[in-house]
């Protein structure tokens, strides 16, 4: 049962069509289908080991699907046993962050963002070697964009700090800023609030809203903080054991008996305690 099914064919930026993946006989993701329309903010939730990060790795070209297809912005990017390399996928408009923050630690904050323009704002080897006028004009375009992104994410005054010296919350924000610098149509966030205290979580929540509202990027996130999911997402996909068991608006998912069973057996009050409603 797809969410918003009628509109999908026209406006979805990202679509999984019966994509599955098997590791040495172990089926990590059973044939899975869903589509993300432009600008949607959706979440994938599910118990540990449900295959959430594996879905992300499928979407970003880390693994090729065993069967099925993945479509990105109207083009097929992966089919059974075949996928394009992660960096080529980035060029087509998909960006991601990682569960354990992965920054370029010894680069400055600004350079972390600048580096992510590689896929769409670049110049060749000879221009770099001879420092040509083209390099100057591309660099100045990158610089403008970088400053704008740093501004949007509130990192301007950190621009010259080394990324590894940033506090945890700022590191996460920088990772999201860097992902946005690749000019994506859809942004995948893998547990953006993991290991964060409530105020840092609130900060990330604001950042995610920002991405959607100011940059108009569709966001798909994996998250364990149910309050965050319920607060900002328009749609929740629930995975359990590699199978999609629900795909609906948050309020509907919250009361879905299958979801409750997946998390806690079938004890409804406890689920409410967990998801904080």
């Amino acid at each position: 049962m797809d969410f918003n099914g009628a509109l999908l064919a026209v406006t979805s930026v990202l679509e999984l069509k019966d994509a599955s993946i098997t590791f040495g006989g172990l089926r990590a993701v059973s044939p899975l289908s869903f589509a993300i329309p432009q600008g949607q903010l959706a979440a994938i939730i599910g118990p540990n080991g449900a295959g959430k990060t594996t879905v992300f790795n499928l979407l970003t070209g880390v693994y090729a699907p065993t069967s099925g297809e993945i479509w990105l912005d109207g083009q097929r990017v992966a089919s059974a046993g075949k996928t394009i390399r992660p960096n080529a996928l980035v060029k087509r408009g998909i960006a991601r962050t990682f569960q354990n923050i992965r920054l370029f630690g010894d680069l400055t904050v600004a350079d972390n963002v600048r580096a992510a323009f590689a896929s769409h704002q670049s110049y060749g080897f000879w221009h770099a070697l001879l420092q040509t006028g083209k390099m100057a004009s591309v660099e100045s375009a990158i610089e403008d964009e970088t400053q704008r992104l740093l501004q949007v994410f509130g990192l301007t005054n950190r621009a010259e700090n080394l990324a590894r010296n940033l506090p945890y919350g700022d590191q996460r924000r920088l990772e999201i800023a860097r992902a946005c610098a690749t000019n994506p149509k859809v942004l995948l966030l893998d547990e953006p609030t993991s290991g964060m205290n409530p105020s840092e979580t609130a900060d990330v929540t604001r950042t995610i809203r920002l991405v959607r509202e100011q940059l108009g990027i569709a966001v798909l996130l994996i998250e364990h903080h149910m309050s965050l999911v319920m607060e900002i997402c328009e749609r929740v996909i629930v995975l359990d054991g590699g199978v999609k068991i629900a795909d609906d608006v948050p309020s509907a998912v919250q009361n879905n008996p299958q979801v409750i069973a997946a998390y806690l057996g079938s004890d409804e009050p406890e689920l409410n305690a967990v998801i904080g409603t």
Partner: protein
Amino acid sequence: MRPSSLPFPLVFAWRVFIFFVVVRALMGVQGTTLFAGKHPIINPYYQNILINAGIAIILAVSLNLINGITGQFSLGHAGFMAVGAYISAYFSKEIGGVLFAQLIALISVHISKQLGTLLLTFQQPILFTIAILVGALAAGAAGFLVGLPSLRLRGDYLAIVTLGFNQIIVSLIRNWKAVGEASGYIGIPKFTTFAWVFALAIACIWSIRNLASSALGREMRAVRDDEIAAEASGINTTRVKVVAFVYSAMWAGVAGALQAHYIQYANPNDFTFLRSVEVVVSVVLGGLGSITGSALSAAGLTVLQEVLRDVPGAFYTSVALVGLAAYWNFVRVKSEQSGSKSMLRAFVVPFFALIAICLCYWSPQVNAVLERVFPRLDLPDLRAALESSKGALRYVIYSVILIVVMLLRPQGLLGRREWSLAALQRGRRVGKGVEGNLA
């Protein structure tokens, strides 16, 4: 020197012009007193050191592109150097001259006699340019081959594979009849002059600085810091790594060509992994990722090798090293904010080291004094022992320097900073860096 927005060919032509003006100016100086003539200011002995230093600089700065900036661990730079040296030498000795003569003959007959004679006067630089290019291209091809495993292997394993390629190249040369096998390749024409080395060293530093400060350099550093994140940020890590390997290998090839046409001899034993290690040492000692650091330490180590050739040189070097070690040790202890007692303790080891060094150096005098007091002592003459094992002494001190510098300054002499005259004038050693981020 920010790139202006002038059209590319204009800017490029301007830069080439400036470059030639500088080189020409130096060669003009060479014509008068600095290098040649009856009483050159820089005599052949120093010229020799300068040329060796220039070659070492090209090697270290180019390796820094792989090891320091792209973060791949290559231990086979001497292999690329060997390819460049042998291929270019083979070209200029066996092919180039004949080819050139035929070309001149053709031109003289079919086009114009004047052009033929004109070309003939420039035979040597033209041949050498082509030889260097051929050597560089061959080395670049080898770099491409060696770079391919870097797509699959990481860290120590990549280091071993590059080392292996180095040994394989040396082993193949040892069995290549046309270039003298293991006994070495003799009779290579002497083309290398100080001006060539100087110009190419500058070109190497300049071009690698440019790469490092460009988007490509940023991508290289991104790959160094986190390859998976780089790939996920749209960086083509394959391209970045292969470009680094090929470009770096080409410069190693240039260095090899310069060396072969300087000493007019190439021996496979000069290109074993020990030479590669020497280059890695320069890079790490100067500070991984610091281009000026690599250049400075390569030049410094070359000079050091010369200084260490005799015992007084070794003595002064050791004393200087002890002083430097004491200073670094003191700074370290001070930064740990311990009491004055441990600050004093920072000088204990250097103090005894200094005494030991002096005792060895002035061993005859010390023995004479001691034997006056204790006539039967029969002390060994340490100074004579040192004189007799000079060759080994040089490496012993060299290795002690390595260990001491690494223990007391693990980040290398400059760390990741760049060093520039402008920064010096501002009274600070910390350059703002070419892209303003190397604080």
